[in-house]
């Protein structure tokens, strides 16, 4: 072997691990209610683990209905005693302060998010944290300008107490999506983080304390589905904002029917990613990688159904096969990792089960060749060819790094196939023709349509779904109005 060849081989990236030194994880976490930390009333706890190692990170209080009640009372007191009386410009200062403290502690939060959830540090550092802080900054600016946000309302009023229930795929960011507008509009919040990823929400409670937020304005009650259900059913909650599965979302809608509670649901998806024959193909491949492999496909708006114009299907599939081989799987703390751990054992098993169904129904599996570590939960980047629209993998949300590839012949057939699903969260349209992109985009039943890009977010741009992907929008003016009496 020549010296140059040896060097080329040795260039295989050495581990480049983000140090966990900036993070101090406590052994135990209580609930954050009325500005104070306290154990659950019945002293129950649960362990939160690192999905990449299965090691326990901390014991977290398991909130019961009694704890939820305490938190809602604290939020009501915070609302009546402090928050609703505060001048909007003062409220803005608090929200700004949260944004600034969070920015300053961004590195620590990114590491914590990666430890608790398994996503690559590159993503938590470059996406989750910048997005979370951006939401606080953006909404801080609105706090004293709400009359301009709502047509015809001189002084739009807050709703009161908001129950925010967030999922495990973007734990801090989605908490920010809900808390930032809620606070800016003058509401107080009870946040219920996901069972597998409570740590950044608890750290955010620390930020609220550091920002000197009045007691009860933000409360965090950790727990499981029953804890969330108690929050949904609490009679003194004025609004529930839920992000999570369609199944749970339907239950929440049933539970809140006939009550005066406002409801916003951001649920599952099986979004179409449509590629026309005049698309910029190399960039399209990157778009596909973002659509389905970003956060290991743990993304509600993931472009998990790839619809390729038949004339380019083989070419695109070949390119994708090549690109699949270059994805870097492994330790989420490694700065060069593209695909980290699957969030939980249950999720990994669900992905594996759906992949089996795809094989059994007759699709062809292409998978990144990788032997995962023995400990932790992993799934290699995968895609299916020879998928028929009737297969489960073409209709059900997999919520993992697994893509189903289907074909179409004409723009109208692409539209029909894209819309032929109970979901409607996002869609991608790839073409070099602006006219074609617009023709297709305006006919898609999807809350967001990205043209020649995917997974682009901004606090000023509303996000939400059609059909069983939910209703209500988060972000932008539409998202803001959802926290106001208008």
């Amino acid at each position: 072997m020549s010296r140059a060849t040896e060097n080329a081989a040795a260039f295989a990236y050495a581990p480049s691990l983000e140090s966990t030194a900036p993070v101090a994880i406590r052994e135990r976490y209580g609930l954050f209610i009325g500005g104070e930390w306290a154990p659950a009333a019945d002293d129950r706890t649960f362990a939160t683990i690192n999905p990449a190692t299965e090691e326990t990170l901390a014991l977290v209080a398991h909130g019961s209905a009694a704890d939820v009640d305490r938190a809602v009372r604290a939020a009501r007191r915070g609302y009546e005693k402090y928050w609703r009386k505060l001048r909007p410009a003062e409220r803005a200062k608090y929200v700004y302060r949260i944004a600034r403290v969070l920015s300053e502690r961004a590195r620590e939060f990114a590491i914590l998010e990666t430890l608790d959830g398994g996503k690559p540090i590159r993503e938590s550092r470059d996406f989750d944290l910048p997005q979370a802080t951006a939401h606080f900054f953006y909404h801080a600016g609105w706090a004293d300008k709400l009359a301009w946000a709502v047509d015809g309302a001189e002084r739009p009023r807050p709703l009161g107490v908001v129950g925010a229930i967030v999922p495990w795929n973007f734990p801090l960011m989605i908490a920010a999506w809900k808390i930032a507008p809620a606070l800016a509009c003058g509401n107080t919040v009870v946040l219920k983080p996901a069972e597998t990823t409570p740590l950044t929400a608890l750290a955010l409670a620390g930020v609220c304390a550091e920002a000197d937020l009045p007691p009860g304005v933000v409360n965090v009650v950790t727990g499981d589905g029953a804890t969330g259900a108690a929050l949904v059913e609490h009679p003194d909650v004025d609004k529930i904002s839920f992000t999570g599965s369609t199944e749970v979302g339907k239950g929440i809608r049933r539970a809140t029917a006939g009550t005066p509670k406002r409801l916003g649901l951001e649920l599952g998806g099986k979004s179409a990613f449509i590629v026309f024959d005049d698309a910029p193909l190399d960039q399209t491949i990157e778009g596909i990688v973002s659509a389905i492999f970003f956060n290991a496909g743990h993304v509600c708006c993931a472009g998990s159904r790839l619809l390729l114009q038949e004339s380019i299907a083989e070419d695109v599939t070949d390119r994708l096969r090549l690109r699949l081989a270059s994805l870097r799987h492994g330790d989420p703390l490694d700065k060069n990792t593209d695909i980290g751990a699957i969030n939980s054992r249950a999720q990994r098993d669900k992905i594996a089960e759906l992949v089996r169904s795809g094989i059994e129904e007759g699709a062809t599996l292409v998978q990144h060749d990788w032997t995962p570590p023995e400990r932790g939960f992993w799934y290699p980047a995968s895609f299916f060819t020879n998928v028929q629209p009737t297969y489960r993998i073409a209709r059900e949300e997999i919520f993992g790094p697994v893509l189903s590839i289907l074909t179409f012949r004409t723009p109208d057939e692409a539209i029909e196939r894209a819309n032929n699903i109970p979901y409607g969260l996002s869609a991608g349209v790839w073409s070099s023709s602006g006219a074609l992109s617009m023709y297709v985009a305006e006919r898609l039943s999807a809350g967001v349509v990205w043209c020649n890009t995917f997974n682009r977010f901004d606090p000023s741009s509303p996000f939400g779904g059609y059909k069983e992907s939910g209703f209500g929008r988060e972000g932008g003016l539409t998202g803001l109005r959802a926290y106001l009496e208008t």
Binding site: N7, A8, A12, S432
Partner: protein, 292 residues
Amino acid sequence: MIRSTARVDAVTLEARAAMLVARSIKADAKRAGIELAIACMDLTTLEGKDTPAKVRGLCARGVSPAPGAPSVAAICVYPNLVPAAVEAVAGRAVKVASVATAFPSGLSPLDVKLRETTEAVAAGAHEIDMVIDRSLFLAGRYRAVEDEIRAVRAACGGATLKVILEAGELGSYRAIRAACDIALAAGADFLKTATGKIGVSSTPAIALLLCEAIRDHARLTGREAGLKLAGGIRTTKSALGYLALVCETLGPAWLTPARFRIGASSLLDDLLLQREKAVTGNYGSAAYVATA
């Protein structure tokens, strides 16, 4: 009309390129990358004031940059300095590359360009770095651009032909991609980003675009052309970023002087300082790096 059907979208191209050059290259990978960057370097002097003595100094440095360090791949000079360079590297593995075809503008009659090429090859140049005629390209005369590259390719005989696209003058990524496809179809052995004589030379996005064109050409024809990045690469960090970009786009098989070059005049200084750091653990003073 541009004949190439390959479309390019700037936003995603730039985002992907930025992500690749931001790879975190540490420890052994960094050491290997520094050795590779030296071994793949076209150490260059392209100034009107170049003299045989200056070129001899550069050659000596290219042959033996520092104790234990590899030789560079080639010395790149103007045609008139080829004899001096050939003499200075005689018997060594270091190649001599000559710019030709009315570098850097390319605006001379074709017969003049061809004669410049044949004379440089006759004087012993192993490699020819030609510039494409941007005047023809921007006027839409793509067939003439391709014919000219074919003619220069023929004039090169056994010498390697690197085709400089001067990407920064072509106006859009799609145009750059079209120029890549023309050069590859005409038989270019290497695609080269820039002359180094204008403001915009090698950016990560331009480098990625060239890699993609080379990859597609190899997929379609089986012919594996090389890539030369030139202009504006001055630091080890930036060189390592480009190595990562090439490695992840074309594969590790491209990380060899036969398929990858970095054209640079000042980059070697920083590579040697960083190499010293990698070997000894301490940063040396620039005064200890022998310059030419």
